[in-house]
Symmetry: C2
C-alpha cells in the first residue's frame, strides 16, 4: 500500500469508531432509558479517546508528508484537508483535550442549573473557564488577525471575523428596519392562528409523506422523536432525523422535519462510499445550514408549496379543513419579535445571531468581561429588537452552545441563511424549469442542481470557493435581504 | 493495583466494548434502515475483534495465576469463572475464530435461502461445515465423555449430555402421553377463539401496564418492536425488551412481553454495579430461560393472573368485552400439536427440543450424517407428535440456531422449563403468602424470592448447584411434569 492508501485505511478505521459513537449519541437523544445516561458517558469517552489517538498518531504525519502535493486531483484535495485537520489536532496536547472535555461536562450541568433558576452567577465561572480554554486553543491553533478566527476555523474553514463583521454590519440596519415593518400591526389583519387539534400520529404520517416527496431515502434513513430536532449520518446509508411534536400545532414538528430533511438530503447526497474521506463529507456548518434553511424556508414556506401540500395536509388534519393556501402561507410566515432564538421566525433570526457574534468576539478578544455579559446582552438585544430581557433564562442563558465549549459556532447559522438565499436564487436563475417544477411538487430538479453544485464536491473546495463556483459570488448579504424584503414587505411568497 | 484489581479493570474495559456492540446489535433488530445493514456488520466485527484480543491477552493469564485460590469468597469465585472462560478462549486459535465467523455468515444467508425455498440441499453443505467446526472446537476445548459436552459448556456450565439424555428420556413418554390427552377433542368443547380486533397501540398500553406491575423498571429499560422478541441488557441500568404485534391476536405480543419481562427482571435484578464481573452476570441460559418461562407460564397463564388482569385487558380491548376469566385462561392454555417450535404451547414444546437434542448429539458424535437429517427429523417428529412433516421449511430448516453455529443451545430451552416449574414449586412451598400475593397481583414476594435465590448469586454457583441451594434438588423432571399434568389433565390453572 502506498502512503495515500494507508491514510485511507486509517481514516476508515477512525470513521468506523466515530460511527459507533454516533449511534451511542443518537440513542442517547432518542431511546436511552434515564438510568443509562451515566454509563453512556463512559462509552462515548472511551471511543472518543480511541479516535483521538488514531487522529493524532505520528504515522499520519509520515503518510501525509509522503503524498502531499498541490495537485488539482481529488486525492490531493483530500490530503490537504487531512493535513489541516492533523496539524490542528496535533497542536492541542491530549492533556488539554481531556481537561477541556471535563470542563464542558461541568459547564453543561451548571448551565442547566443556572438556566432553570435563571441565575447567571451559577454559570459565570464556567463561562470564564470555557472562554479561557477557547482562547488558549486559539493561541495554540494560531491565527493571523484575530484569535476568534482560529475558533471559526473549527466550524467554517476560511471564515474570518473581520469579514463576518462587515457582512453582519450590512445586514443589521436593514434587518432592524425589516423587522419593524414586518411586525407592524398597522400593515393589515393578523395572520390566522394555526393552533388546533393535531394528533401526533397524523403529524408523523404527514411529515413522512412530505419528507419522502422531497427525496429523503427511507431505505437509508428514518425519523424519530427527540427533545431537539437534529440530523445525523450515523454511518454510510444510515442518516437519521429527529423532531418533536406539539399536539396543538403541527408546524412545530413539520418545519423541524423540513429543516432536518435539508440536512439529510445533503448527507444522503454525499458519496456514501467515500464517507470516511473529505471528498465524501460535508464541507462546513454554514453550507450544511444552507441546505436545511433552503428546504425549510425558500421551499417550505412558499405559496407554491402550500398550494400543493395544503390539500394533502387536510387529509391528515381535520383542523385545517377550511384553510386556504393563502391563509396557511401567511400563518407560517408570521413575523414576531421574541426572546428565544430557536423559536425565531426567518426575519428576526439573524438579529439573535448578530448579538451572539458580537458578545463572543469581544469575550475572546478580552474587551468584554464575563461578568458583563448579561448587561451587554440585554442592552444590545433591546437595540436590535426593542424588547427588554427580564431574566437571563430568556437572555444570555438560553443556548447550550457555550457550555458545550463552542464559541464561533453561532455565525454559521446566519451564513446558512445567506447561503440558502444565494443558492436558491442561483438555481432559479440557472434552471429555467425550476420554478414550475416546484409548483408541481417535483423536487428532483432542485435536488439535482444541489447535487451537482454542492453534494458532489464534498470538501474539495472551501465554503466560499464552493459558493463562488455555484453562484458566481462568495457569500454575500444581498440575495438574502432581497428574499426577506419580497417575502415580508411585498408579501410575495413565491 | 493488585492482580485482582487489574483483572476487574480489564473486564470493565471488555464490558464497555461489549456494551457498545450490544447497542449496535439491538439497533440492527429494531431501527436500523435496510441499507445500513452491510456497514453494521463491519462495525460489529471491528468491536468483536477488539474484545477477543482483550479476552485472550497474555496479561489475563498472568493476573489469573497471581490471584487464583479455592476460597469461598466472591472474588475467588469470579477468578475461577474467568479462568474457565480464559482457558476456553485461549484454546481456539484466532484464525479459527475468524474462519468460523465467516462460515456462519455464509451459513445464515444459505439457511435463509434454503428455508425460503424449503430446499435442504442448499443448506446441507453449510450444516456440514458448522458440524465440522463445532467438532473441532469441542476437541480443542476438551471433554471427558462426549464432545457434545464441550459444546453444552458454552451455554450451560456443568451440563452433560449423558445426564440430559437421561432426563429427556424420563420426560419423553409422559409428554407424548400428555400431548395425546391434552389435544384429544373428546375431552370437552374446544377453547374459545381469541382472535379479534386488537389495535397495536392498545396492545402496547396493556403490555406496558402489566410489565410494569410485574416489576420491570422502565427508568432502566424499555420495550421496542422487533421481528423476534428478545431481551438484552445493553449496559448497566439499560435492559431492553422487544416484541411484535399481531393486530388480530393480542396474546402474541403479550406473552412475548411476559417472557422477555422474565429475562428482564433477571437482568435488572443482577448487580448493575458488578455488570462486568461474573458476580453481576447471569449464570446460564437454562437459568435465564427459567425466569422467562416462570413469568410467562407459571404466572401468566394461571387462572389467578387472569382473574386480576382480564378486567384491565377489557379496558384496553373492546374485543374482550364478554369474556370470562375462565374462558381466557382456557384459551391461553390451549394445547395443539404443530410443526413450529416457536409457536408451540407449553405441553408440546419440549418434544421439539428432545428431537433437536437427539439430532445434534448424533451429528456431533458422527452417528448421523448431515445428509440424513431430514429423514431422521421427520421420522422422529412423527413418533413424538403423530404429525407428518411435508416440507423442510416446517421441519429441520425452521430454526436459525444451527446456521449461527450454535449446537448445544437447544437443550437449555427445556432446562428452562424444568427449572421454572421446580423454582416456582419451591417458592410456593417456602413462601406461605405467595399464592395469595399472586392472586392479589402483588408480585413483590415472588420477585424477592427470586432475587434472594437466583439474582443475588450471579455466577457464584454453577446452575445445578444454584438449583440445589434454591430448591433442595438439582434440576429434575418431576416438578415440571406435575405442573403440566395438573394444568393440562386436571384443568387446574392455579
Amino acid at each position: 500500500m502506498n502512503a495515500y492508501e494507508q491514510l485511507v485505511r486509517h481514516q476508515e478505521k477512525i470513521a468506523l469508531l466515530q460511527s459507533c459513537n454516533a449511534l451511542l449519541s443518537w440513542d442517547q437523544e432518542t431511546y436511552l432509558p434515564p438510568k443509562g445516561v451515566a454509563y453512556r458517558a463512559q462509552q462515548r469517552a472511551a471511543l472518543s479517546e480511541q479516535v483521538h489517538a488514531l487522529k493524532t498518531s505520528d504515522a499520519v504525519g509520515t503518510w501525509l508528508e509522503a503524498c502531499e502535493s498541490d495537485g488539482d486531483t481529488e486525492e490531493a484535495a483530500n490530503v490537504r484537508w487531512w493535513r489541516h485537520a492533523f496539524d490542528r489536532a496535533q497542536r492541542i496536547p491530549p492533556k488539554l483535550v481531556g481537561e477541556f472535555e471535563e470542563a464542558t461536562s461541568l459547564a453543561v450541568a451548571a448551565w442547566q442549573d443556572a438556566k432553570g433558576k435563571s441565575d447567571y452567577q451559577l454559570f459565570k465561572p464556567h463561562l470564564q473557564t470555557i472562554v479561557d480554554y477557547n482562547r488558549r486553543m486559539a493561541d495554540l491553533w494560531g491565527y493571523e488577525d484575530s484569535p476568534y478566527d482560529a475558533l471559526l476555523e473549527e466550524y467554517e474553514r476560511g471564515a474570518r471575523s473581520a469579514h463576518l463583521s462587515e457582512m453582519f454590519g450590512q445586514l443589521k440596519a436593514p434587518l432592524v428596519d425589516l423587522v419593524k415593518k414586518a411586525t407592524d400591526d398597522a400593515q393589515g389583519p393578523p395572520a390566522r392562528d394555526i393552533r388546533g387539534d393535531f394528533p401526533t400520529e397524523a403529524q408523523q404520517a404527514f411529515n413522512f409523506e412530505v419528507c419522502q416527496a422531497l427525496g429523503f431515502d427511507f431505505e437509508g434513513g428514518r425519523i424519530d422523536t427527540a427533545a431537539h430536532p437534529f440530523c445525523s449520518r450515523l454511518a454510510p446509508d444510515d442518516t437519521r432525523l429527529t423532531t418533536r411534536y406539539d399536539p396543538e400545532d403541527f408546524t412545530s414538528s413539520f418545519f423541524g422535519v423540513l429543516h432536518e430533511t435539508g440536512h439529510g438530503l445533503y448527507e444522503q447526497g454525499l458519496s456514501q462510499e467515500k464517507h470516511a474521506l473529505p471528498s465524501g463529507s460535508a464541507v462546513s456548518l454554514g453550507i450544511h445550514e444552507s441546505q436545511s434553511r433552503l428546504w425549510e424556508n425558500q421551499v417550505g414556506r412558499s405559496r407554491a408549496f402550500w398550494e400543493h401540500w395544503l390539500p394533502v395536509a387536510q387529509k391528515h388534519f381535520a383542523a385545517l379543513e377550511d384553510w386556504t393556501p393563502e391563509e396557511i402561507t401567511r400563518a407560517v410566515n408570521r413575523a414576531e419579535r421574541s426572546f428565544i432564538r430557536v423559536e425565531a421566525d426567518e426575519v428576526t433570526y439573524d438579529l439573535h445571531i448578530i448579538l451572539r457574534f458580537e458578545v463572543e468576539r469581544q469575550l475572546i478578544k478580552g474587551s468584554l468581561a464575563v461578568n458583563d455579559v448579561p448587561e451587554v446582552w440585554n442592552t444590545t438585544f433591546h437595540e436590535l429588537t426593542g424588547l427588554h430581557v427580564n431574566d437571563d433564562a430568556q437572555g444570555c442563558l438560553q443556548d447550550i452552545h457555550w457550555s458545550l465549549g463552542a464559541l464561533g459556532y453561532f455565525p454559521t447559522y446566519s451564513l446558512g441563511n445567506l447561503n440558502a438565499a444565494q443558492l436558491f436564487a442561483a438555481a432559479l436563475d440557472q434552471e429555467p424549469s425550476l420554478a414550475r417544477d416546484l409548483e408541481e411538487a417535483d423536487y428532483s430538479s432542485l435536488r439535482n442542481w444541489l447535487r451537482g453544485n454542492i453534494f458532489a464536491h464534498g470538501c474539495r473546495y472551501l465554503p466560499n470557493e464552493l459558493m463562488e463556483r455555484a453562484t458566481g459570488r462568495a457569500t454575500e448579504p444581498e440575495p438574502y435581504l432581497a428574499h426577506l424584503r419580497s417575502r415580508y414587505l411585498d408579501g410575495d411568497h413565491r
